[in-house]
Chain length 230, copies 2
DNA sequence: CGTTCTATTGACATCATTCAACGCCGGTGG
DNA sequence: CCACCGGCGTTGAATGATGTCAATAGAACG
């Protein structure tokens, strides 16, 4: 049902592990890259910025959002490690979103020119990029469908299960984890009132399905959660 | 706001016009292609089918949808001429959707192997594909945002404006056009009850903002429609 | 240690769904 | 040609889920 793998592009097997991948990448004619650390609230790029690089989130988390005409921020996506960031820039070569970090995060910058070169050299890189973009499309659509045909509680459950899965993919506990985003962010993302989020969390907590302790969530009954999505 | 261009890949300038593009494509080492006509209700591919080709819709319209566990059909997208179809297949090389036609339509099949070859030969083709996929991502997100932060009337208005724009891009009237999908399809797509669709259309009709005559829609006051989205 | 952001809870209002009845239209068969 | 039927669309009344408003409390940050 929601066994969606995060988009992954393993251009350089060492990248998510260490900075030493730079050398390896050069040897294999793969894009050179530079790592950098950002802190909560910092911005990687803004809507309309020139699109000259892709980014791989090595650790931490971020939100990408657009700003509507009336100045309202609308979150389009949350990002977790091993997520390739910036794919929407290929459309008209400027970033369609802004991206800010939710916590201290490490990012790997992949220069676009070098990325193109790597794509030309390697069918593998090319296939991985297409796969990644294709996956983004499917992911978006999954989210869309889940919002369209689920009620508020189901949306929230689905959100929690997706988070759980993403943590799992990064070898973290999928039963106990911390929300790196505020309820405001969640409400914004899911298109609900924060009061509704709060009420639903409280309700599920008192039903023993989950445990809520500020930002820390424990999934006590995953089976029940999954079944509630039908 | 919603000046989203349809994804377009102009590999062969003649393609949308005639069958003679085949020869031209071969000369330029571009993907060979075969045209075919489908009628209302016919299926191009189904969820899980092997992904071995992309498709370009030359004329007509179609819907792509997934089938949920309980057998419910959920529409993910409507497609109009010059739309590149099947991009979600790159993820795991099977189609993630099913696609059926809403009316008599003409489709151009682009063999995947040849498409890969063309991508290798031509940076232009490669760039156009990336652009197209990137555009799909943005499109999805736009839809998502509009659903998330708009009420039922605004969603419907946005849907009509998007349709209008797509017709415009295909050199058809953007003020008067025919819906090729049923209200059931629209309701499904927008995540609303068909009764709500019906009521809203009636309401806007009686307010003189639009005219509704069965499947024919006339936008009488585009300015007002756009403003209602804020 | 106070200010600001974030989160919870209750009372109330409202928009959208659900259920139900009915009309329209096209196709099919007697 | 008419009668019947099924899919599509409209309309009304009642219900319910979710948003809004308001008050308060807790957490985070300087």
């Amino acid at each position: 049902m929601n066994n969606q793998l995060m988009p992954k592009v393993k251009i350089c097997g060492k990248c998510t592990l260490s900075r030493s991948c730079l050398k390896g990448c050069q040897e294999r004619k793969l894009p050179t890259r530079s790592h950098r650390v950002y802190h909560r609230g910092m911005t990687l790029y803004s809507e309309g910025d020139n699109f000259d690089a892709l980014f791989m989130l090595s650790s931490g988390s971020a939100k990408s959002f657009i700003t509507t005409l009336n100045g309202h921020e609308q979150i389009a996506n949350f990002h977790f490690p091993n997520s390739l960031i910036g794919l929407e820039g290929f459309n008209d070569m400027v970033h369609a979103h802004s991206l800010t970090f939710l916590e201290t995060s490490s990012v790997c910058r992949i220069n676009l020119q070098e990325f193109y070169r790597a794509m030309g050299d390697s069918g593998f890189v090319q296939a991985q990029l297409l796969k990644s973009m294709s996956h983004s499309i499917i992911d978006e659509q999954q989210l869309l469908l889940s919002i369209v045909q689920h009620n508020a509680e189901q949306r929230l459950v689905k959100f929690l299960l997706n988070l759980s899965e993403k943590y799992h993919q990064n070898s973290l506990s999928y039963l106990v984890f911390n929300l790196t985003m505020t309820r405001i962010d969640i409400a914004n993302y899911l298109g609900m009132a924060i009061e509704t989020i709060s009420r639903l969390l409280t309700k599920m907590h008192s039903q023993g399905i989950i445990k809520v302790n500020n930002r820390q969530i424990t999934l006590c009954n995953i089976k029940h959660l999954k079944e509630s999505l039908q």
